[in-house]
């Protein structure tokens, strides 16, 4: 039986900041296509957000836990133990922790789905960081997605997947011990490598499955900004209105970005719809996953009703950039 998604939930913090606040304070806002983004509270981190994304999910029968984040609160410590305790799972669970790039979310999903015993919980949490004067910081938001996967009671099945991994130097990396990503400013070089990587993964997948862009009701493509997913989609032959990119109002959520895109697609999908989900991790790697929706199922979210907008100074203090 194919492994698929049984239930899912999302979490975003209450706080937001608009691009216009950056413009007022710094004169410009470098993350194109993002009009506002999410801001984690001072006392939130990828672990607390991952936990909150799973709030309300039925975790009975969960025997494995996969955590994916590029911003773990410790460089070295078993974080699965913390989450298992918070969620009341385990201790007898198989736990994996995935990091290293924004591809870690799909990696966690695919790795969990292979040899799955019982149900699995996949938590993908992002809170990218950059220095306040760096462009990588401008679009950086925060949020987490939780997926319960298994073989029974699946509403969205993983039909197939394809992966592509190659060496790519100096593209959006974070040196050891650094708390900020390092951008060498090699725009064209980085773009070409990314497009190549994602195109390969996606086209390999479609060849393998015998599908075409027209078979997909939704395409969730990576980029972390407002333009790249659309450009990737166009290059791959997907119609513009089928591409799902949540960054416009959430910001760049690291590995969780494409999962928010997936959540958006799942909420709109009808039985029989296909969803293409592709990730990209700089350095580089891409996973392309083909999903088939069997029935409609909305998220079990901890939806935040009212949001609060911050001014730039409050934002800097809350994100510990001051």
């Amino acid at each position: 039986m194919a492994v698929g998604i049984i239930a899912y939930g999302t979490y975003v913090p209450r706080y937001r900041i608009r691009a216009s606040e950056y413009v007022k304070a710094l004169g410009s806002f470098a993350a194109r296509g993002i009009s506002e983004k999410t801001v984690p509270d001072f006392d939130e981190d990828t672990i607390t957000m991952a936990r909150e994304a799973a709030r309300g999910l039925d975790l009975s029968g969960v025997l494995s836990l996969a955590l994916a984040t590029t911003v773990p609160p410790y460089d070295q410590k078993v974080l699965a133990g913390t989450l298992a305790e918070m969620l009341g799972l385990g201790p007898r669970i198989f736990a994996t922790e995935h990091t290293s790039s924004d591809r870690c979310g799909t990696e966690a999903l695919l790795a969990s789905s292979r040899g799955l015993d019982g149900r699995g919980l996949v938590l993908v949490a992002g809170a990218p960081r950059g220095g306040v004067r760096e462009e990588t910081e401008h679009g950086a938001g925060a949020g987490a997605v939780a997926l319960v996967i298994g073989e029974e009671d699946v509403f969205c099945e993983i039909e197939g997947w394809s992966a592509y991994v190659e060496e790519a130097l100096g593209v959006d990396f974070r040196p050891a011990g650094a708390d900020r990503r390092h951008d060498l400013g090699l725009g064209t070089y980085s773009r070409e490598l990314m497009f190549h990587c994602v195109r390969q993964a996606v086209s390999d997948l479609m060849t393998k499955l015998g599908t075409e862009p027209g078979h997909y009701a939704f395409a969730v493509l990576p980029g972390g900004d407002g333009r790249t997913p659309a450009a990737l989609g166009k290059g791959l032959g997907f119609e513009a209105e089928r591409v799902r990119n949540p960054v416009a109002t959430l910001g760049d959520l690291g590995p969780a970005t494409v999962f928010f895109g997936l959540a958006e697609a799942l909420a709109q999908a009808r039985p029989g719809d296909r969803i293409l989900l592709a990730s990209y991790g700089a350095g580089s790697g891409s996973d392309a996953i083909s999903l088939k929706v069997r029935s409609e199922r909305g998220p079990v979210t901890s939806a935040v009703e009212d949001v609060e907008y911050l001014d730039f100074l409050s934002y800097l203090k809350m994100r510990r950039l001051l």
Partner: protein
């Protein structure tokens, strides 16, 4: 200067901090939280079964701590966020607990409003992150 709650001491209370695990008295059934050696209700029960509380309740009372009034563990938080609210919550199962209130403008707090527990970083001491429950409007 921290409160000198040692790491082993905090570790012992992880079930309470992470999942509000309370005691149900095997003698009289009363729920107590945080756990004590003797049941506060019947005064004789000393055996308990653990029960995980839902984390939902109402605000019994509250305060809003101004930055200068924060204990040292919360200096960084106070400097970042300014004043912060603390609530005493009458949990649905009976016990009352205290915790910070998040995701709420202090002006909007009302005694009697419903809240629910969420997981947050409480503080960091000895570079160990102490996670635990706080509350947000339900």
């Amino acid at each position: 200067m921290g409160a000198h709650i040692s790491v082993p001491m905090y570790q012992r209370t992880v079930p309470q901090r992470y999942r509000l695990v309370a005691n149900a008295c095997t003698q009289c059934g009363a729920i107590s939280f945080p756990p004590k050696a003797t049941c506060p209700q019947c005064s004789v029960g000393r055996e308990f079964t653990p029960v995980e509380l839902k984390g939902t309740g109402v605000v019994y009372t509250y305060t809003v701590i101004a930055g200068g009034g924060a204990p040292p563990e919360f200096t960084a938080q106070a400097r970042s966020r300014g004043r912060y609210p603390v609530v005493m919550v009458a949990l649905d199962e009976g016990p009352k607990v205290v915790g910070q209130l998040v995701d709420c403008d202090p002006e909007d707090i009302r005694i009697g409003m419903r809240v629910r527990a969420v997981m947050r970083r409480i503080y960091v001491e000895e570079e160990v992150i102490r996670y635990g429950f706080k509350f947000r409007p339900a």
